[in-house]
């Protein structure tokens, strides 16, 4: 903060209270101060890290945000686990992801939260810094989980400040969904989706001459920002510098990526003013030919009878391959007072599901474990294994604490304004980088205070 404001800081809490104005409040605050023991490190020590559970019968609350077609798959796994492990009863509770990350911290703080849960890799830092979750290095150690068992990018996404906070379950990259009927109508081979920039652009112009808007571009995070992030990495750029202290997404790569998207709108390959989810609805209705969306949509599209579609890796528009991906991770909550039995049982549960991630892959995910990803059973899942080809060049948002807030306050807005043709791509990104740097600075102060 600026020097000029030090005078305000000069008025101390005690002086303020002495003024009398806050005297009553002070008593009140003292009354509810304290808080949980903020030393979550290694409370589970003494256990074997989750190989077996021999303690008394426990009930585990397991929360996640699988509200879509993925929910039933997870529920089935949970039921199977509970029937095989008589003294661990897992109760699953589903909350929408948007609410999940606001509900879970307060629930854990009040002692009414879950024992075990799922978090996205880019949320691990925030929740680790806020003591919502505990380190799981011993789980990884005891279960013999090593980097070589996992795709290294996914494995490293579970790390924060030198500790492991998440056991990766899967990765869920973006993919290119294509409508075969529309491709036929435009005279394209429906079994040969465009995979390079040239192919993509010529396919779009074929579509255009057939009167079809080939790729609807959303101005919202889902799916507009995800497209832009993928393109940014393809053009050789990145969101932040190596230690996430400065935003770098207004580089030439970032501008080129955003310009490419905006040109789709300007050249009539996308309608203007696409509202939230309209591009997704239009794909299902046979109006949007090439739709970039997450792997988790596979089952949703399978349920639509008249939709003739396929899925391919995201085309390489830029100089290198690159695609946005998220990753679900198992976490153990810092529920005070931590019950050693529950922590141990949670570890057993995590290990069990992690080994059966082939069943989870059917929900529309790529298993994090190499052994599962390379199994014959996974290869037989046509759509999932096609998108798994991208696993070596996926990019994740770094797990820095508060990183989500930086995105909301900066490049989400820039993509929105540029795609809605309210600002030029470069101007929008330059402005957003300024905001992002400020927010990164504030996060550093906040989470190191």
């Amino acid at each position: 903060m600026g020097e000029g404001r030090s005078g305000l800081r000069g008025l101390t809490r005690q002086q303020f209270l002495a003024l009398g104005a806050g005297a009553g409040a002070g008593l009140f605050v003292a009354g509810c101060g304290g808080g949980p023991q903020n030393n979550p490190a290694m409370q589970g020590a003494g256990g074997d890290g989750g190989k077996t559970y021999e303690g008394p019968k426990v009930e585990l609350a397991f929360w996640n945000g699988f509200t879509g077609g993925d929910g039933p798959y997870m529920r089935e796994l949970v039921e199977q686990f509970s029937s095989e492990n008589k003294n661990i009863n897992v109760k699953m509770n589903t909350v929408e992801w948007v609410d999940y990350y606001t509900t879970v911290p307060s629930a854990v703080r009040s002692g009414k939260g879950p024992d075990v849960g799922i978090m996205h890799s880019d949320q691990l830092g925030t929740n680790a810094a806020r003591s919502v979750i505990i380190p799981l290095d011993d789980v990884a150690g005891a279960l013999g989980l090593k980097e070589s068992d996992f795709a290294s990018l996914i494995w490293n996404a579970g790390m924060y400040n030198g500790n492991r906070y998440g056991i990766p379950l899967d990765s869920h990259p973006l993919g290119l969904y294509y409508n075969k009927a529309l491709m036929e109508k435009a005279g394209l081979d429906p079994n040969k989706p465009p995979q390079t920039g040239d192919e993509y652009e010529s396919a779009l112009s074929e579509m255009k001459s057939a009167g079809i808007q080939g790729t609807w571009v959303s101005p919202f995070p889902f799916t507009g920002t995800l497209m832009w992030e993928s393109l940014l990495w393809q053009f050789g750029g990145d969101l932040y510098d190596a230690d996430v202290s400065k935003a770098t997404f207004n580089s030439d790569a970032g501008v080129e990526a955003l310009t490419w998207l905006v040109d789709l709108v300007k050249d009539g390959h996308s309608p203007k003013d696409v509202a939230q989810d309209a591009e997704y609805v239009a794909f299902q209705n046979g109006k949007n030919a090439f739709h970039w969306n997450g792997i988790w949509q596979i089952n949703a599209f399978k349920e639509i009878e008249d939709l003739d579609w396929g899925v391919a890796p995201v085309p390489q528009i830029g100089d290198e391959k690159g695609v946005w991906s998220g990753s679900h991770n198992f976490v153990i909550m810092n529920q005070q007072p931590l019950d050693d039995n529950k922590v141990q049982a949670s570890k057993v549960f995590i290990n069990w599901i992690s080994q059966r991630s082939i069943d989870w892959a059917k929900a529309g995910q790529i298993p994090a474990r190499n052994s599962v990803r390379e199994s014959q059973e996974f290869r037989s899942l046509e759509e999932q294994s096609t998108l798994a080809e991208q696993v070596d060049y996926v990019h994740f948002v770094p797990p820095e604490p508060g990183i989500g807030d930086v995105q909301v306050g900066s490049f989400d807005l820039a993509v929105n304004e540029a795609v809605l043709l309210r600002k030029e791509p470069k101007a929008a990104l330059d402005e957003a980088v300024g905001k992002a740097d400020q927010l990164l600075q504030e996060n550093r102060e906040k989470y190191q205070a």
Binding site: R9, T12, D273, Q438
Partner: protein
Amino acid sequence: MTTQQVGQPGAAPSAAAKKAPRRQESKDFIGASPWTPYLFMAPYLVLFVVFVVIPVVYGLWISLHSWDYLLPGKPWVGLENYVNLFTPGSTTSGPFWKSMEATGKYTLFSVPLLVVIPLLVALVLNQQFRGRTFFRGVFFAPYVLSIAVVGILWRFLLDPNVGLINYYLGQLGIGTIPWITALPWAWISLVGVTVWWTLGFNAVIYLAGLQDIPRDLYEAAAVDGANAWQRFLNITIPGLWPVLLFVVSITILREANMFGQSYIITQGAPGEETTTAIIYIAETGLRQFNMGAAAAMAYVLAFFLLLISIANFAFFRQRGD
């Protein structure tokens, strides 16, 4: 804490002032312990203290810190959260004042419509005609829906490219209108949806007020040769004055606290244009866990609402006496 409640103390003095002369008599009437009235008020007072007074004071305390309830350190920052709001270029001042502007615009657009249209509806529904009760129900019906239902319903109807409304307009040869993604259409949609959704509530209050105006006044005026417009100006409006004050006040406070419509229908877009103050405050406090800054913003918003409420009461008292 809600800003509505902060606004209310403005109402208390005027009500108390009017009742003052009667207090003398009531003392004699009860004749029992002087604590009796307080005992009767106790249940409300307890709720008021627990849910209003304590949160208001506690919120003020929070606003003087960099406050994340889960971080071990909650450093004291004095007035910094407030100063940031008034320092151009800080992370909070830009978006906050933009959201205040959005709230102001929205309130300005929606309140006149929500004061006038329900009054017209109430005047019609106050007439004698067949099916009157049915139509009263029809106008009130949307109000029973939650904002989640209303928001999702209208988001689908208003979608520029795959929505029903533009589809039918297209059949009529009218091109794509960006109902929820560009200005001024986004405001037109948000105000329109809100009027559709809440006009029934204001209309019912007006209707109750209209039914309180003695019939014989109208009859006497008609005998004296007053036409319908004159009767409306000289009997209906003065008779409705306290109701009007109530409707204007709660409508301003309700619309200034608008959240759901923008949050669901436009997601605050285009850019941050329809991000209202409450959305931004909730975003800052509950999603970014920046409670201190959010609390400071809530007090600034509450202060503005207090000023508006005071001005509102002053206007109605002056014109009413």
